[in-house]
Subunit: 292 residues, 2 copies
């Protein structure tokens, strides 16, 4: 084998957090041939050993400093609440020209963390968020096609190096994703509506029903509609605690708007105002049918 014949574009990639998101990214970029060596990093040695067994990563370190010191690109795929601590360690040991990117579900909070740690956001840091996932977690839930035909939103700043943006875009494209650029605050507002609020509502509804006397019967008599509606309530609680807090301003804004509208539906119900109900339901069905 002559490795000089087909040199991968990126020699060494380090993935911090080798779960569903990080693991699927590793599988996809390895399959693309763009990356040479993949190092994993995390707190759970068992998960990382599994990741090696599955061929997702080549080696791993539990220590972030060791994991990133030779990396050309560092991909952070951990809950957003951990970013300040992780970036502090990355800063100590990373190569000066390494590119950093991430898969955090909120972007303003991640940029804020980078600002705090580095004084100003590094020009080689490209904040990102793949709009893909399942309710499962851990490297065993990862799969090579996760990002195919899904969007990845990058939220670079004005001073972000265009070469870094290009490199990160190329990686995502090689994983089959469609790359979209967006301002971080705008990303957070859009995602609060389309992802964070639905998760909050699903968790909240299932918890409310869990406290009822009829709990057992309620779940036993649930049909497919309920199963789909509550699927996201099986998501990882720690991760969602982080996301909700990190994006609380936008989330509360949408939540208040939703609660107001819901109260109007309650009034209509109470007053037997069928026309109002039908109007709302019809508009909702129309939107949902148009877009999904």
């Amino acid at each position: 084998m002559n490795s000089q014949l087909k040199q991968p574009k990126i020699k060494r990639l380090t993935i911090i957090g080798v779960g569903l998101i990080g693991g699927s990214f590793a599988r996809a970029v390895r399959a693309s041939g763009l990356v040479g060596h993949i190092t994993g990093c995390g707190r759970n040695a068992k998960n990382l050993i599994k990741a090696i067994e599955l061929g997702v990563i080549d080696d791993f370190f539990l220590d972030i400093n060791q994991a990133v010191e030779n990396a050309d690109i560092i991909f952070i795929a951990t809950p957003v609440g951990s970013f300040k601590s992780i970036l502090s360690q990355v800063k100590n040991s990373m190569k000066v020209d390494a590119v950093i990117t991430d898969a955090g579900s909120t972007k303003s909070s991640v940029i804020e963390a980078a600002k705090t740690v580095f004084d100003e956001v590094p020009a080689n840091f490209v904040p990102g968020h793949p709009i893909a996932g399942t309710e499962n977690s851990g490297v065993e839930a990862s799969f090579v096609e996760l990002y195919q035909n899904h969007r990845v939103i990058l939220t670079p700043l004005e001073k972000t190096n265009s070469s870094a943006i290009e490199l990160v875009s190329d990686l995502w494209k090689s994983a089959g994703a469609q790359v979209v650029l967006m301002e971080a605050g705008h990303h957070d507002l859009v995602l609060a509506a389309t992802s964070h609020l639905p998760h909050l509502l699903a968790f909240s509804l299932v918890d409310t029903l869990t406290t009822l006397d009829e709990k057992q019967e309620i779940f036993e008599n649930a049909a497919g509609g309920f199963r789909d509606f509550t699927r996201i309530a099986s998501s990882d609680p720690s991760m969602w605690q982080d996301i909700c807090l990190a994006n609380k301003k936008a989330l509360i804004e949408h939540l208040d708007h939703f609660t107001q509208d819901l109260q109007q539906l309650r009034t209509a119900l109470d007053e037997d105002n069928g026309d109002y109900l039908k109007q709302v339901f019809t508009r909702a069905k129309q939107s949902r049918d148009d877009f999904c």
Copy 2:
């Protein structure tokens, strides 16, 4: 063919409302061999012609009086708001010993309608509700396996004939369903929690998002979680207007409980109370994983 060798248990079944629910029932009981002739009835001749073409029914009448006059069993599968009018017509023409059953999503309102029309609920009326469906409607959406391994809740009254309950149960069992008996008011409370409230929330959320400036981007950046969460917002608006109004007492009760709990989550968010969020999310995930 010697029809005397294998006489079907029920000679003539009339289905009022040959859509997803009525059509799937017709397909399933016909496949079981329990029913001889199936007559359809509805307001939409095109749908009924389609139902004949698909082999779902044998013939049809647009007029309820004609449709039921020879029926041994009458199955009503129309939106619950139509029951009073339909039962009045059924009463005029039905055979005195015909069994009536239905698939209405609310049971107290249906029993109330029967009481109003017949003065007292007929002993041969067996209120029922299959816990199955999809967001699609019309006879073309119907399929023979819809009820397989799904529950059907029957809510007979004290005076309901046990032979009528048995006949209706046999039909549902022949369609692959599991028959459960329940008191009507209890059914309505359980279903308000597990079906009616989730539908109201899904319709309401999609409608709220539809009114936002970022509407286009919100839907474009929605992932699979959002798609599943809002699937039931594609359901038929008229049908759900009826259901919500017919079961408004139980629905408002659950809605108020839910709204209270949601406000506590809002407070926790506002106060950065991550422990509270995590506690709720963890309890919800546990319930959801246990039951689904």
